[in-house]
Amino acid sequence: MAYSRGNSHSDILSGFGQGLPLDQEDLVDENTILVQRTLRSGQSIRYNGNVVVLGDVNPGAEISAAGNVIVMGALRGVVHAGAGGDEKAVVLAFKLQPTQLRISNHITRPPDNETPDADHPEMARIRDGVVTIEVFQTGLNDRAGVGK
């Protein structure tokens, strides 16, 4: 693999790459923007690539990305990954509580009468044609597997 482990940057990438349908080579070359603030109601980010937010995405805010969306905080607004039709796009957040979550042309919302209580990072992606949410593991064991 192209990554040498040892700096924090690749640590994040390798952790992210665990078990994901992402081509790590591509991730390096792809357009990615870093949003270094909290997105508040009424604010939106539209980007033809990956979006990384260092902050929260509040209810009423929107992110639409052709690629993946990673939120280093609470994701409570509307998010659309793979907006150009990429079925392999994922959404990852420390607290994944979106008003609505879209990947490619799949639209999902949290079930009614259920208050999500995500206190660990979660990741949404399409599996067998449905959007699934799974716990995102960042343990050492997971990372160890990446370098193979």
Binding site: G42, Q43, G60, E62, V78, Q100, I107, R109, D112
Partner: protein
């Protein structure tokens, strides 16, 4: 052919959105086909009050700018068959829609629905002009405060200038006890000043907060006084004669006053 109501007030925070949600929900539970239009572009709230915020894909600006068909943007309510919402855009501003576009939109909606109820933004600028452009009738919401009544008066003047005559008045958040003590303007005081027809009075009620938290309009709550007040308004809109609800709580002092003949 349906009718278009605009719910307006001038001042913010007097209960336009709550009123819109409750009138729409009430009319729909009476079997009417109703669409609620959130004209508060940039500050949308009607979706949250109705508990539909996570179903929005397209909004009013997508419709007026041709990004989607009207049908695609309409959200069906989760409780009532006949109720629909056309949500506002959150990431745009009020200039994204023009009065002409609103008129066209209302004409379209009237063909399909018995009632089109528009939630108007606060203020008297473009958002207000957009919201009233396609309306046939106006309902003005006020509270028994000097500032709210003053703004209601201004709005009534502007509605008349826009050929929306005889607006109906809703007085919201009345506190009967304070009125009795002479520390709040009464219904009569406000009518006296504004000189318009009253269509309903809503008592201050904690249930409004509770039902809004849950995203379920209070009109569906059979036990609350504010829910009853909204049901009465809806019956009046449907043409029934309903006497104004008594604002008295049958408390100890009222009975006492009755006994000693002060009332």
């Amino acid at each position: 052919m349906g009718e278009v109501f605009v719910i307006t007030s001038g001042k913010g925070g007097v209960g336009k959105t709550t009123t819109t949600a409750n009138i729409g929900t009430g009319l729909a539970s009476a079997g009417k086909k109703v669409v609620l239009v959130d004209a508060d572009i940039g500050l949308r709230n009607l979706d949250v009050v109705l508990g539909l915020e996570n179903r929005i894909v397209f909004d009013i600006v997508d419709v007026t700018s041709g990004n989607c068909r009207l049908r695609q943007a309409l959200i069906k309510d989760k409780r009532l068959e006949g109720l629909h919402l056309l949500p506002a855009a959150q990431t745009k501003d009020k200039t994204a829609v023009s009065p002409d576009q609103m008129r066209t939109l209302c004409t379209e909606l009237k063909k399909e629905f018995d009632y089109v109820v528009i939630d108007c933004p606060a203020g008297i600028e473009q958002g207000f002009r957009n919201a009233i452009a396609g309306a046939d009738k106006a309902i003005v919401v006020t509270t028994p405060e000097v500032s709210a009544v003053r703004d209601a008066d201004r709005i009534i003047g502007l509605l008349e200038a826009a050929e929306l005559r005889d607006p109906k008045l809703i007085i919201n958040r009345i506190r009967p006890k304070m009125v009795r003590q002479g520390d709040m303007m009464s219904i009569e005081d406000i009518i006296d000043i504004l000189a318009v027809d009253l269509i309903g009075v809503i008592p201050e009620d904690e249930m409004i907060v509770i039902t809004t938290n849950r995203g379920e309009p209070v009109v569906l709550d059979q036990h609350s006084r504010s829910g009853q007040a909204y049901r009465n308004i809806n019956r009046r809109i449907l043409g029934e004669e309903v006497p104004m609800m008594s604002m008295e709580e049958d408390g100890f002092f009222k009975k006492l006053r009755k006994i000693i003949g002060l009332n």
